[in-house]
Symmetry: C2
């Protein structure tokens, strides 16, 4: 019985790996196709919002994790600790994040998005969405609908296992 289960697991793993490899092929083609538009859209958003790439990355990390220490931010943005500290200074001055004291460990500062910071991210999401819409808007409605349904399924599946968040 255990052997059957194990065999099933191995088979399932192989299937998953094969499916992932197949997926990688089309993602590479998609990346190649829309990559330049995405990069340009991102640059455009940063210019409009007057943010650096590191700054928007930091905001994204904070949205995903609620709060992060300065050290954690430096790791997640691939910045040095001093650079991360400086970055937080700038974001605090613009009221996009706030630095809070941690009573449990007074060395450590806790950084959190403000409402304004959340709004900036929402605004940027909107810009991206408009970019995708523009990219796809000439297509057959049927394909758009099918894509919508597929992404919806994907999100449901992703939501179901969101707990294992690496790092």
């Amino acid at each position: 019985m255990d052997e059957t289960v194990l065999a099933m697991d191995v088979k399932q793993q192989t299937e998953t790996r094969d499916a992932a490899v197949e997926l990688s092929g089309v993602i590479k083609r998609l990346q190649r196709h829309v990559g330049s538009k995405i990069m340009r859209e991102l640059q455009s958003e940063l210019t409009q919002l007057d943010l650096t790439f590191s700054q928007i990355t930091a905001l994204h990390q904070l949205r995903a994790k609620e709060v992060l220490s300065v050290t954690q931010l430096s790791e997640r943005t691939y910045l040095s600790l001093p650079a991360a500290s400086h970055l937080v200074d700038k974001l605090v001055k613009r009221d996009l994040v706030q630095r809070e004291e941690n009573p449990d460990n007074r060395r450590e500062k806790v950084v959190r998005l403000t409402k304004a910071g959340q709004n900036v991210l929402a605004q940027m999401d909107e810009g991206f969405v408009q970019g995708y819409i523009q990219t796809f808007s000439g297509l057959d409605p049927q394909i758009l609908r099918a894509t919508t349904a597929q992404i919806d399924q994907l999100l449901t599946a992703l939501g179901a296992e969101q707990e294992q968040e690496t790092l």
Copy 2:
């Protein structure tokens, strides 16, 4: 007869718009879900490749367009013309792009990806694909396969109208 065609066109347009709006909803959720991972993956790639965000954006634009003048590059990267000129200097020094004379207009320089530049982009694509694979690898193979098929359809549809490239 013309009226019928026109009516069809209007209906089709409405359908397309509605489908695009639906799509925008799920894209926003997807962006929200994977945004922080994508930004972090991008930062990671840039750090590993020792490139700035502007530099990789420039490389992407060059891949999409074969050749661009320095002015066109400055527009597509949202950099000032002097900054774009400086950026090209750096990329030339690293042999990722080459500056060619344009015999038709000797004021204008033509910038083009080198083989090494193409390889850098390919390497970055690979990093992204690995990131997506990691994100999706825990999911049901059936969903992965369905997603692969859907993206494949989308690429086919996009390829069919690739000629209208805005700007």
